[in-house]
């Protein structure tokens, strides 16, 4: 219990640190904007629940809460009262680009997300547990945190700039996806959306375009970094890549060879020595054993003497006769 209190006190002290405090203010402000934005949408729940999730995450350091907050924001955008009590009207996508309420909500959510993650790095855990390495590292200790002294003044403005940039990028992506329709009858297979948006199955083309776009981005990004990695390989990595490729090509043949080699090796080995238990020798002669040995010796000697005496007598008396 005292550990928990200690942790809590440390956490609060860290939150109130001069450099960390700016992030706390940003998170709180972003949550407030999310709350107001929900209220503008006409529902108290739409503002309250995401903001509450965010504040709980801030207070209790639950890493899952930012995602809950984002999910709740999206949920209450689709269902302002949380349950499908009525079907909201469909909006023409032409009127959904760069809307003030969307800009406000998305900007606040992004600022909250970025700031909250950075706050986690300062107060909860900066890098994940390295499970396999931890086996060897007995002194793993508490989770590693980012040093508050490393927080620079320019970080908050940078954060806001990044949020604004990705916000604009998101709006443009939505603009492209909502106004472009795939049409495989023409080349290139794209055209602008025409006519009534209800008549065209634009969302199918939006999904395909999104999938293709994300796939291309990931593919070319991966390719570029893979080539970069190949270029920057160290000697051991390059040697390993060559050896591994060679092994994959010759694996079956080599396995067969090695199996038979081991078989031959085992046949050639000498049989393991048979360990026979030796009878323990008494450290001191046992009296009875000594008496017994003496009696036995006497008996054998007497027997031999008798045989010799009897035999000799028989021969001698025979000769005499």
């Amino acid at each position: 219990m005292s550990d928990k209190k200690e942790n809590l006190r440390t956490y609060i002290e860290r939150l109130l640190d001069e450099r960390v405090r700016s992030y706390v203010v940003v998170v709180a402000a972003a949550l407030l904007v999310i709350f107001v934005s929900g209220l503008i949408g006409g529902s108290l729940y739409a503002g309250l629940i995401p903001a509450l999730a965010g504040f709980i995450g801030l207070a209790l350091r639950w890493p899952v809460m930012p995602m809950v907050c984002v999910g709740a924001t999206a949920w209450f955008q689709a269902l302002p009262f949380g349950v499908p009590v009525y079907a909201p009207p469909r909006i023409d996508p032409r009127f959904t680009h760069f809307r003030i309420q969307d800009l406000l909500l998305v900007a606040a959510t992004m600022v909250y997300l970025i700031a909250q993650y950075r706050l986690f790095a300062l107060t909860h855990r900066a890098v994940p547990d390295d499970r396999l390495v931890k086996v060897r590292r007995a002194d793993a200790g508490p989770p590693e945190l980012r040093d508050a002294d490393d927080v620079e003044e320019r970080e908050i403005p940078q954060l806001l700039v990044i949020a604004a940039a990705v916000l604009i990028a998101g709006q443009f992506l939505w603009l492209i996806l909502s106004e472009t329709v795939l049409d495989f009858r023409i080349l290139p297979p794209f055209r602008l959306r025409e006519g009534d948006f209800r008549r065209e199955w634009t969302y199918v083309s939006r999904e395909i375009l999104f999938g293709l776009g994300l796939g291309f981005a990931l593919f070319f990004g991966r390719l570029a970094f893979w080539l970069w990695k190949l270029k920057a390989m160290n000697r051991d990595e390059a040697q390993l890549a060559l050896a591994d490729t060679g092994w994959v090509e010759m694996r079956r043949e080599a396995a067969r060879l090695e199996t038979w080699r081991i078989y031959g090796k085992q046949r050639g080995l000498p049989a393991p020595p048979v360990v026979r238990k030796k009878r323990p020798k008494p450290s001191e002669p046992w009296l009875l054993a000594a008496v017994g040995r003496a009696c036995l010796t006497l008996f054998v000697a007497v027997f031999i003497a008798l045989v010799l005496v009897c035999g000799g007598s028989y021969i001698i008396f025979g000769l005499i006769r």
Binding site: A74, P88, A121, G170, D236, A255
Partner: protein, 659 residues
């Protein structure tokens, strides 16, 4: 590369995009916009992190300094703290915003002060310094492997771990025991005695005046101090110092038996410390000290000398001996793998990348035909096929006859017909079915978790060893199949990185594995060659674990007898195990002390008592045998061997003076 936080973020972003891009987006356009924004932000952060990582990694430089008494040193002294200073510099153009550095502390050593870990930002051109303190209680080695760097972005979405290898070995010399060792200054110490004090307190035929004494009949007239005689009105004779030094030869055991134990607390460390004390004390009185190191196979000699450079060289040799690692011996490959895998993972993280160190699925499959008994199931298939080819109608006839007998009968036509055909199939293809079932169940066992995990780890280690050795790819398969080859390579890997694994002291037959009988012969040869090279009466100090040799000590006894016959003195210093009480401790007034009764339910205590008693008896026997031929046997930790050796040197010097 992605942390769980990163995975959750991208998963939520993509799900929101996929849901929002459906007709839901027409109702609530904020959802796809938010999803697309999260995905765009994530991709931006990912690209930035990956680019920073790739661009900066080759430009990170690590340098290390070991400081003792404020000076950078190449070798450190035992029993005094040394500061390790590691400087990490980013020479690249980009920064790493969040970095966790950890210097890998030498295996088995504890940090006495400071912290080998540091969380910081690595800015271009700005070095970051880690400082901490280490202290070794005995001679040995500090093995520094390098610095672990964990890089993350500020939000903790991405993460990479690298290990910058910069291996460095620092010898820990035995502590200086003279005045120079106690000083704490850069100024060189004046080790000459003050006027009136003499190092060599024995009179002899030297040139330095030692003392004045009354004349005794028989003293040469040239030794009379005429001025002092006139002043005292009686004859006074001058005495000069004896400048004939005593040569001491140290024989240090560095066999496997003395290397066992935790780092810094091995018997060889204690022996080296004793040897160092003797060498320094003897050198302080200008006696010559030499060193012979021996193990089970060979010996090397450092000829006796008395200069300071020689003493330092001798200490270096002692430290090298103390740093030697025990051979873990034949071990189960699983045990070695369990020790080596985390070490490799810690030090070679980039070589575990699945792109370069692949684990194909086929690797886990266990081929039936690679076994010797697989043909038992394959042969019937071939025989059956031959029968089908040559005697098809007989086979068909046989099949239907068997089916007629064994087919199940239910009375229901809808069941009987399919069961009939199933039975025909089973009988006609029985050898094939059996073979397929055995092949499948034999092969699939390779994918079971325990076996698959072991094989995966083994493959990864094998590939890393091949890469480090610049070996051929076929070697990987050899390590996968050959336990002996892999065990040998893992043992070498652990020894290279100075990782100690608990040795197995007894073999399967219950014999002590570290007796090292052959070292008696090597030591005997070394003593005989020293006797052959000797110029005067010398002192041979044998620092060795001889108690366990038993009857194998005969060659050594012979050599000691030869040395004694040439009037050399021999002393044997045996390391005494910490947990074994000395024999005299078990006796009170010459009588054995009654030990607490052993009960049948304490096998561990019984074994401990038996081993203790056995060791004490063996030591007593060794001491008696040595005493019989005129050699002295003392214990390293219990007796005061350095004082005994110095007394013996003085005795030798006195004997010479008297002669």
């Amino acid at each position: 590369m992605l942390t769980s936080r990163g995975w959750w973020t991208i998963a939520v972003g993509v799900v929101m995009c996929l849901l929002g891009l459906t007709s839901l987006g027409d109702i609530a356009p904020a959802i796809p916009i938010l999803g697309l924004t999260i995905v765009a932000w994530f991709l931006f952060e990912l690209t930035l992190f990956a680019a920073r990582f790739r661009r900066t990694l080759p430009n990170i430089e690590v340098s290390r300094e070991v400081l003792q008494a404020g000076r950078s040193v190449a070798t450190a002294w035992a029993k005094s703290a040394c500061t390790i200073r590691v400087t990490v510099t980013n020479q690249g153009p980009w920064n790493w915003p969040l970095v966790f550095l950890r210097d890998r502390v030498p295996e088995g050593r504890k940090v006495r002060g400071g912290d080998p870990k540091l969380a910081c930002e690595l800015r271009p051109g700005e070095p970051v310094v880690i400082e901490y303190e280490l202290r070794s209680n005995s001679a040995g080695l500090f093995r520094f492997e390098g610095v672990e760097i964990r890089v993350s972005d500020l939000g903790g979405l991405f993460y990479r771990r690298v290990f910058l290898r910069a291996p460095l070995d620092i010898l820990i010399l035995p502590p200086l025991t003279d005045d120079e060792g106690k000083q704490r200054a850069d100024k060189r110490f004046n080790s000459l005695p003050p006027p009136g004090l003499h190092r060599l307190r024995r009179p002899g035929g030297g040139s330095e005046l030692l003392d004045l004494r009354d004349y005794r009949p028989g003293d040469p007239p040239k030794m009379i101090a005429w001025k002092a005689s006139a002043r005292k009105d009686k004859l006074i004779t001058k005495e000069y110092e004896s400048d004939v030094p005593v040569r001491t030869m140290l024989f240090l055991d560095q066999s496997e038996s003395v290397r066992i134990g935790p780092a810094g607390e091995t018997p060889i460390g204690m022996l080296a410390e004793t040897a160092s004390g003797i060498a320094q004390a003897a050198a302080a009185t200008r006696d010559l000290v030499g060193l012979t190191r021996f193990d089970e196979e060979k010996s090397d000699v450092l000829t006796p000398a008395r200069t300071k450079v020689h003493t330092i060289r001798l200490l270096g040799k002692l430290a090298e001996a103390a740093a030697k690692m025990p051979n873990p011996g034949p071990r189960e490959v699983e045990e070695l793998q369990d020790a080596a895998y985390p070490l490799a993972q810690e030090m070679y993280p980039e070589l575990f990348d699945s792109e370069t160190n692949s684990r194909p699925w086929g690797m886990y499959w266990l081929p039936l035909m690679d076994t010797r008994w697989g043909w038992i199931f394959a042969a019937p298939v071939f025989i059956w096929m031959a029968l089908i080819y040559f005697q098809f109608f007989w086979v068909v006839n046989f099949t239907f006859n068997v089916v007629r007998i064994v087919r199940p009968r239910t009375g229901n036509i809808w069941l009987d017909v399919p069961l009939f055909f199933l039975t025909v199939w089973m009988v006609f293809f029985l050898p094939f079915t059996v073979f397929l079932l055995v092949w499948f169940f034999h092969g699939i066992r390779g994918f079971f978790p325990g076996r698959a995990r072991r094989l995966r780890r083994r493959k990864q280690l094998a590939a890393i060893f091949v890469a480090l050795d610049r070996d051929s790819p076929g070697r990987i398969e050899r390590y996968l199949k050959d336990d002996d080859a892999l065990a040998e390579r893992i043992g070498r890997f652990l020894a290279d990185h100075h990782v100690r694994i608990p040795p197995k002291l007894y073999d399967r037959e219950g014999r002590y594995r570290y007796r090292c009988e052959s070292k008696a012969i090597v030591l005997a040869n070394a003593i005989v060659s020293s006797v052959a090279r000797a110029r005067d009466n010398e002192l041979y100090v044998i620092l060795a674990d001889l108690a366990d040799l038993g009857d194998s000590i005969a060659p050594l006894m012979k050599a000691v007898r030869a040395a004694r016959s040439r009037h050399h003195h021999v002393m044997v210093i045996v390391p005494w195990p910490v947990d074994v009480p000395p024999p005299e401790a078990a006796k009170a007034n010459g009588r054995p002390v009654a030990e607490p009764a052993w009960r049948g339910n304490q096998p561990g205590r019984f074994i401990h008592l038996a081993l203790t008693r056995g060791y004490q008896q063996r030591f007593e026997k060794l001491r008696n045998e040595l005493a019989r031929i005129g050699a002295v046997c003392v214990r390293a930790q219990v007796d005061d061997p350095i004082r005994l050796v110095l007394d013996r040197i003085d005795r030798i010097r006195g004997m010479r003076a008297r002669r």
